[in-house]
């Protein structure tokens, strides 16, 4: 991912893959006013299945190709070129990603299934206080904290349903995954330093056959899609099931470029370009935007109109703001004995002891520690971007004896951390690229420093002879850019994710998150989507949709 090397023209290309149809499933007329879902990942894919299962016709517009499990590659760079979102984008601001990866602010997927295709699988729930950061963290200088218009109690039944859909281990009777080598180091270290709340999950990959999919074969390539399908993704569960209902029209290689509204201000269509650059219009009764936290605000900003001069649904001015990317940082520890961290499930190891609110540590919010492994190809690119020389090769030479973990914690929402349209950089269609501007809050720095030091102690407790701290890299968790807020002045959308300003327009992905919490976001995105689907179906049934 050397900055010179990220070139969309190098894609191994979707067009050459087998079975690229213009659409899958039902043939819905372009003039038929249906639910139009932009994106097919954790939010969009879940909505598509939940709605079509209730008999509601949906058109799903997915920017990327429909990759099948047999298309996925057991090769880090080949897979990256196959599925990563490599269209023009820029990273700016003081954070190091802007220097190391100026054209790659985020590592997310452009394919049916979205980023559930490469997600790790960790499924912790948000904690009660994490839905109320204004109440619990207070008014922190430089931060834009706000309580969600949803509580944990309201979301809990949907968390149950999401965990069952995903098949989370350790939940609802699902057994735990076994300990792989990386976990053995991680968990023994945890025990030695006095942590208690560690386990191999909850994790969204089958330890035994479940829901028509097999048990993990521990192949170590779940960031590259999981060829065995033991890992849950909307590409292997929700999307195929939605298509089977006969109510879903899935259109891959279809990039949404504008959401339009009628004279009364109600969302009424989505314009999109197909793979040949032809522009189409799909009429809509309801529009659900789930393009991940960079594309979703970009789409709303590109949808400015005379009624919405600052971008669609942006009377609050919050569209694109409060971009969060999670704390992140990785620690790789070297031992005298072999570890072979790459063998087995990448992130099936979670420590929850630091995921709590305790300001005696010097910061608000908390973080998880999770096992992490990269192959040599990605470790070289990410370990310390731009680094070279003997200090760098020492890390690489120790590969076989290395254990790794990821620190994932809550970063604070800041108004100035934002996604905007970059007027001077265009994508392949001539549309303004998204720019992501980001700066750590001092609270983020304090938490990351704490996390690194705790990880060092953990690994030293089981004999580490050296540790390496990897800085944050292109974000896999992108959150908060169309946040929920009880009042239209504070947030883009209401408790159901419906835009305050635009009836019929819903925010359906991680961009609706009012705060980011410590937990990996996918489970919460799925739970919110199940809840939102229920609301939309109910409103449509009442004729109010």
């Amino acid at each position: 991912m050397g900055t010179e090397n990220v070139d969309p023209n190098q894609r191994s290309d979707a067009d050459s893959l087998r079975s690229q149809q213009d659409h899958y499933g039902a043939s819905i007329d372009h003039d038929e006013e249906v639910v139009v879902i932009v994106g097919s990942g954790a939010g969009g894919g879940t909505l598509a299945y939940e709605l079509t299962a209730k008999g509601v016709p949906c058109v799903v517009l997915e920017a990327g190709p429909y990759l099948m499990p047999e298309d996925y590659e057991n090769d880090e760079w080949a897979s990256f070129k196959q599925m990563a979102w490599l269209d023009a984008r820029t990273a700016s601001g003081p954070y190091r990603v802007a220097r190391d990866f100026p054209n790659l602010p985020a590592w997310v997927v452009k394919a049916v299934g979205g980023s559930t295709t490469h997600w790790s699988g960790a499924t912790p729930r948000f904690r009660a206080h994490e839905f109320k950061t204004r109440t619990y963290y207070g008014d922190i200088e430089g931060a834009n904290t706000l309580d969600w218009p949803i509580t944990l109690e309201e979301l809990a039944p949907y968390y149950d349903r999401a965990e069952k859909a995903i098949g989370s281990t350790h939940r609802h009777g699902r057994p735990p995954l076994p300990a792989n080598n990386n976990y053995k180091v991680f968990a023994n270290g945890a025990e030695k330093v006095g942590y208690e709340f560690y386990a191999t999950g909850p994790y969204g990959t089958n330890a035994e056959p479940y829901d028509g999919r097999p048990a993990s074969i521990q192949d170590g390539f779940n960031f590259q899609g999981d060829k065995s399908t033991a890992k849950w993704s909307t590409a292997v569960r929700e999307i195929p099931r939605a298509i089977k209902t006969g109510k879903c029209d899935l259109r891959p290689n279809s990039q949404a470029v504008q959401v339009t509204h009628d004279a009364s201000g109600r969302a009424n269509a989505v314009l999109y370009v197909d793979k040949d650059g032809n522009l189409h219009r799909q009429a809509a009764r309801v529009v659900c935007v789930a393009g991940n936290s960079i594309e979703s605000p970009r789409l709303l900003l590109m949808s400015a109109s005379a009624l919405h001069p600052d971008g669609l649904a942006n009377s609050s001015g919050q569209v694109g703001r409060n971009y969060m990317r999670h704390l992140t940082g990785s620690v790789y520890a070297r031992f005298e004995e072999p570890v072979h961290m790459y063998r087995g499930e990448t992130m099936a190891g979670i420590i929850a002891d630091e995921a709590r609110q305790d300001t005696s540590r010097g910061f608000v919010g908390g973080y998880y520690m999770e096992t992490l492994s990269l192959g040599p190809a990605f470790l070289a690119a990410f370990a310390d971007p731009g680094e070279w020389g003997p200090g760098f090769t020492e890390v690489m030479d120790a590969y076989q004896n290395t254990a790794g973990m990821w620190i994932v914690g809550e970063d604070l929402p800041q108004e100035t951390n934002r996604v905007t349209l970059n007027a001077s950089v265009k994508d392949q269609w001539g549309l303004p690229a998204a720019d992501v501007w980001y700066q750590d809050h001092p609270n983020d720095v304090a938490m990351r420093t704490h996390g690194y030091s705790r990880a060092d102690l953990l690994y030293e407790a089981v004999g580490a002879v050296g540790v390496h701290h990897t800085p944050p890299y292109p974000a896999t968790h992108n959150l908060g850019t169309c946040r929920l807020g009880a009042r239209p002045e504070d947030g883009v959308a209401d408790t159901w994710g419906q835009a305050h300003d635009v009836p019929g327009l819903f925010i359906s992905d991680g961009s609706q998150m009012t705060s980011g919490a410590a937990a990996n976001p996918t489970l919460t995105i799925v739970a919110l989507a199940i809840r939102q689907a229920e609301y939309i179906a109910d409103q449509l049934a009442k004729g109010a949709g």
């Binding site: 010179e4 976990y183 074969i217 065995s228 072979h340 609110q357 300001t359 070289a380």
Partner: protein, 171 residues
């Protein structure tokens, strides 16, 4: 002497590049093959860009002059490891060296022979994953618990001192 107008770099230039790669990414147990393949990838990629070709040709051609001016030794390829590393530190921000590193870091470690040398198993799906090929063969630590903690302690989600002044009804 390499000539940028012909888009080819001569054998001296390529030899300097291989030597540079070994000095910048020193792995005593790597044979020459991975470095040579990486050098060829760099030369190949430079062919796609006039800018990269210009800076690379000139940069490699002048390494010997820099080596001569620094140590009095004649050629870059004859410098010992330490001297070569010192020289490279002095040109860390030179465009041609930045370009070399940007390709090298994603090429040298994306090489099957290097994977084997580093003890990485690589593609595994076709072989049934690592389920029966050592995913849990680490034997120098005890087998840890895999279930969640079920002892008497509770994780304190909010420290007592961090409860808000007006505690909400649902904590």
């Amino acid at each position: 002497m390499s000539d940028p107008t012909t888009s080819s770099i001569d054998t001296d230039g390529r030899r300097n590049l291989v030597r540079l790669l070994r000095a910048a990414y020193p792995h005593p147990r790597f044979p020459d093959g991975p470095y040579e393949r990486t050098a060829d990838a760099i030369l190949n990629q430079a062919g796609d860009s006039l800018w990269h070709r210009l800076v690379l040709t000139e940069g490699l051609a002048t390494l010997d002059a820099r080596a001569a001016s620094g140590s009095g030794q004649g050629r870059f390829a004859d410098l010992d490891d330490e001297a070569a590393l010192d020289l490279l530190r002095g040109i860390e921000d030179a465009e041609f060296f930045v370009f070399i590193r940007s390709v090298a870091v994603v090429t040298l470690y994306d090489d099957a022979e290097v994977h084997q040398l580093l003890g990485y198993g690589g593609p595994s799906f076709e072989q049934g994953g690592y389920l029966h090929r050592g995913f849990d063969d680490l034997d120098w630590l005890p087998n840890p618990r895999i279930e969640e903690y079920d002892g008497p302690d509770q994780l304190v989600e909010v420290a007592p001192d961090d409860e808000p002044a007006t505690a909400p009804t649902q904590a």
